[in-house]
């Protein structure tokens, strides 16, 4: 599994590729913990290269869901394959979290929530690659 992180216009983009299971989900957990500690809670998850997710991977997102919401943020997942989506569906999570088809739809959700909150765009830079 590989995780690529970038911050664009106040949104943390997490691109996950490969297989997210009991072993690799530990890395993802650290990434999200760090983001919460830094109050970067508007998080977009790019799943286009995510081939597999087990309950351990899903559990990482669930365990941080309340903290993210309490800090005014959210997870928005996009470009999820049918196989990965089915796991969220089996658990009944597809109706509890934002899962959209494309990046543009994910962006729209954040744009709308930002205009609702009257927030201003700021640009943050830098990216990190975790092997």
């Amino acid at each position: 599994m590989e995780i690529l992180i970038e911050t664009v216009s106040n949104i943390l983009h997490i691109h996950i590729s490969g297989e997210l299971d009991a072993n690799s989900s530990i890395e993802l957990d650290e990434v999200i913990k760090k983001a919460i500690a830094e109050r970067r809670t508007r998080i977009m998850i790019d799943c286009h290269a995510l081939r597999y997710i087990s309950s351990a991977g899903v559990g990482v997102f669930l365990s941080h869901l309340d903290d993210i919401k309490n800090l005014g943020g959210r997870f928005v997942f996009y470009s999820m394959s049918a196989g990965v989506f089915s796991i969220f569906e089996i658990l009944g999570l597809h109706s509890m979290i934002d899962i959209v088809k494309e990046h543009a739809e994910a962006q729209k959700i954040f744009d709308e929530s930002e205009s609702d909150n009257g927030m201003q765009h700021t640009r943050a830079g830098g990216d990190t690659r975790i092997p």
């Binding site: 559990g59 990482v60 669930l62 309340d66 089996i90």
Partner: protein, 136 residues
């Protein structure tokens, strides 16, 4: 088909790749294969992490008996299991899992959702999980 693996979650990606190859010629659809692999992966993860505390000196065995009408998967040794804790995990509501910031507890839910029969038992001093999926 019988497979024995080291008791370490690092081995799971290779097990999934092996299962993908095994199921390729069974005639099952891609979603069926994906779900079976997921259920097996979850059962093995539970056996490694919770049943055997990731003790790499131990091993986990898996027997698969596949026929046109059903597949039977037996996984062991899954270590000690607490039946009441298992029932509690399976019946726990998602909203409570989120509220309690739990990372675990979803694997059994997936297994019970995917498979038609799930049983746990001991045999010759070892603990096993047997999962059955009926076709047609």
């Amino acid at each position: 088909m019988n497979l024995t693996t080291v008791c370490n979650t690092r081995a799971q990606e290779e097990i999934r790749a092996f299962l993908n190859r095994y199921f390729k010629d069974t005639g099952l659809t891609e979603p069926e294969v994906n779900q079976l692999i997921l259920a097996i992966d979850e059962a093995i993860a539970n056996a490694i992490i919770h049943g055997n505390q990731s003790d790499a000196t131990k091993s986990i065995s898996m027997d698969i008996d596949f026929s046109e009408k059903r597949i039977v998967i037996e996984i062991g040794d899954i270590g000690l299991f607490d039946e009441s804790l298992r029932k509690e995990k399976v019946s726990k509501e998602l909203k409570d899992i989120i509220k309690e910031k739990q990372k675990g507890g979803l694997g059994l839910k997936l297994i019970y959702s995917i498979m038609d029969i799930v049983t746990f038992y001991t045999k010759d001093g070892k603990s096993y999980c047997m999962m059955v999926k009926l076709f047609g």
